[in-house]
């Protein structure tokens, strides 16, 4: 137990890396998901096929494999390209490789979340808005987006909960996140269980906090009843 207290600052710095990694990954995943959903819903045949390959491929391959592929495979690609131009060794950062991999993976899940949410909006509403003479941008702003957020939030929260847990696999590339540091420290003082129990509690805390944030967001963006409609 004294060991755990002694290692606390190190573990907390690892927790901070985990959270930063998860947040950056979520931003990337959201952007990719929005692009993917747009492509699937309104793109041409090429855009549809590219997104189709992306979601099928990513959702079918384990996280761990993709992370290793992006970090080590990406480094090999950088080395090969660097050799062509006689450039010095360019280091692929562990952190950004992790963000890239996790963002790329969860972008595929969010593509489906956003697409599903969009499809829940009755098409008649959009037709009606157009018939009222609203411009596409105001249709998007006042009809589509508010409902999209409301329909997508439960799925989005779900993806976030899975995403934050999957950051644990980045410790394989040696990124000093919560899990990686707890593993090293626990084995160094030969008390792995106490350290992993701490990791367990930290992840529970992360998911507990995010659950509350999303519950608040779901209430805030809940669709108002018909009485509120003007």
């Amino acid at each position: 137990m004294e060991n755990l207290i002694e290692y606390m600052p190190l573990l907390l710095s690892g927790a901070l890396v985990t959270i930063t990694l998860a947040l950056f990954s979520l931003v990337l995943a959201t952007v990719l998901g929005a692009l993917g959903a747009t492509g699937k819903l309104s793109g041409g045949i090429i855009a549809k096929s590219i997104v189709g390959v992306y979601t099928t491929l990513v959702r079918g391959v384990p996280d761990l494999v993709l992370i290793l592929l992006i970090y080590f495979g990406g480094q090999r690609l950088l080395n090969i390209v660097g050799n062509w131009f006689d450039a010095d060794y360019i280091e692929l950062s562990k952190f950004w490789a992790g963000v890239g991999a996790i963002g790329f993976i969860y972008g595929a899940y969010l593509t489906e979340t956003f697409r599903g949410a969009y499809m829940t909006i009755p098409p008649g509403q959009i037709d009606a808005a157009k018939a009222l003479g609203m411009r596409p941008i105001s249709v998007l702003r006042t009809v589509t987006i508010p409902q999209l957020i409301s329909f997508a939030l439960p799925g989005y929260a779900n993806v976030w909960q899975v995403l934050i847990k999957s950051t644990a696999v980045v410790s394989i590339i040696g990124l000093e996140d919560l899990v990686g540091l707890a593993n090293d420290a626990g084995k160094s003082v030969r008390e792995p269980f106490i350290f992993f129990a701490f990791v367990f509690c930290m992840y529970l805390l992360f998911t507990f906090i995010s659950q509350n944030i999303f519950m608040y967001a779901e209430r805030k963006y809940a669709l108002k009843g018909h009485d509120d409609a003007v």
Binding site: S13, R76, R190
Partner: protein, 249 residues
């Protein structure tokens, strides 16, 4: 202050380290006493001290890159480091993808018994070994005149040594030091005789891993290992961690 330290750690993680050093060395950090992580995040241990001693001997500046064990060979192959010093055993499987210097240690096998025991007095004595291990074959091959007592696990042999059912134990030195001699029940017992590491029985030991085709670096490490053995630097590091010569015979 603490906030500053944490912010600095995050910043250091975001921006990858510049490779200013001559040689980047992959080390681990979760395998005490060879390498372990301090509360400050620093990696310390026998491997680390040896890495620094080798670099000093070679006259090169080195940077230690902490790497997860599972990703350590890919990290070497993709150029994230130029050498691995992480208690990695030289095995035929690994030799197919990377190259090794000569060994820098071979966790040797040894005898323990009541303090004051001598190797010359072993004939006819009862020696406990774990069944089916390299130590079992070693004893049958090299010490045919002792009476072997076979056990299923190492812990049972310790219990019987204390109970007086065996006179000595032959096993891995590190396992016995950490698992028995350094514990309360190990009081009154000690290593005796030589440390054994016969490649035929005990394998080739742990070496410095380098990429294939980098013979120059490999040979520089091998030469530096010999040099620190001769200069006494090695024994000084050895003595900080172990009661026996870990280099092996």
């Amino acid at each position: 202050m603490k906030k500053f330290v944490i912010a600095a750690t995050v910043a250091a993680t975001l921006v990858s380290a510049a490779n200013a050093a001559d040689i980047n060395i992959c080390v681990e950090g979760a395998y005490p006493p060879f390498s372990s992580t301090e509360p400050s995040g620093e990696v310390v241990g026998f491997d680390i001290d040896i890495a620094n001693a080798l670099c000093a001997e070679m006259g090169q500046s080195c940077e230690l890159v902490k790497t997860d064990w599972d990703g350590i060979i890919p990290a070497l192959l993709e150029g994230k480091c130029d050498a691995i010093i992480a208690s990695m055993s030289i095995t035929p499987d690994r030799m197919q993808i990377i190259d090794f210097s000569t060994k820098y240690y071979n966790s040797p096998a040894g005898f323990i018994g009541a303090e004051g025991m001598m190797e010359s007095g072993l004939d006819g004595q009862r020696v406990g070994v774990q069944r089916g291990t390299i130590h079992h074959s070693f004893m049958e091959g090299v010490f045919p005149n002792v009476e072997l007592v076979l056990y299923g696990s190492q812990d049972e042999i310790y219990l019987d040594l204390v109970a007086g059912r065996v006179d000595a134990i032959m096993a891995d030195s590190i396992a016995m030091q950490e698992g028995f001699l350094d514990t309360d029940s190990g009081a009154g017992y000690a290593f005796f005789g030589e440390s054994y590491s016969v490649p035929e029985y005990h394998g080739d030991g742990a070496g410095v891993g380098v990429r294939q085709g980098e013979e120059e670096l490999r040979d520089a490490f091998s030469a530096a290992i010999t040099a620190i053995r001769e200069s006494g630097e090695y024994s000084m590091i050895n003595a900080e961690y172990f009661d026996f010569d870990i280099f092996g015979g």
